[in-house]
Amino acid sequence: MVPLHFSHFQSLLLFALVISLAFGTLGRRKPVERVKYAAWSFAMFVLVGIALGWLMYPFSK
């Protein structure tokens, strides 16, 4: 199998995308609600991930 290489941000985006789609599909019944929930979940994953990254930044040096 060809090894996959991603940057931290790409990994974050992939993780957020896949999990948000799953959450949207499992958590809501109507298609419109699913899309809204998945989009909201994706945005929260990415924003909170970036925020946590910045919060930890001072301790990385």
Binding site: L4, F15, I19, L21, L26
Partner: protein, 174 residues
Amino acid sequence: MFEENSQPPAARDVSAERDEQKTAGAADSVTSSLEAVETADKSAETNGGEVSSAARAVAVALAGWLLPGLGHALLKMWGRALAIFLTIGFLVYLGAGMRGNVFEPGGEDAFARLGYIADAGAGSFYFVARAMEYEGPDVSHADGDYGTRFLATAGVLNLLAALHAYEAARGRKA
């Protein structure tokens, strides 16, 4: 004139009323007995139905754990079944491709044991991940570390999906 019935008409009416009351009472008691029997039958059916429903729900959850999406497919929730299958499959593919750690049973510490529980949540896809990762894990780079998380997430997400299928099979809001 009163040869056939030795009682006067008024007395016969009272006697007839009593007979009717007795008959009505007997009928009431039969009806209530029948109702009691029907209630008992219904209760037995309900209990039997609950047991079979619970057993069916457990079977659905087990199927969903063994093969991601199968639980929902058995409930004819095709969209969710496909989404779960693809999501878990993609996460396992990414995790194995990034050479994440696929934990084995009998880990040395609590993290390894918890990691195995999370990985095993993917059911049959756990073995797919092990087969795909024939070069072994490489967690010396960030990719491998992320891959470990992807594999664990696939397992935990599949357990969540199996629980969802169980709830749906029990007829609860899911």
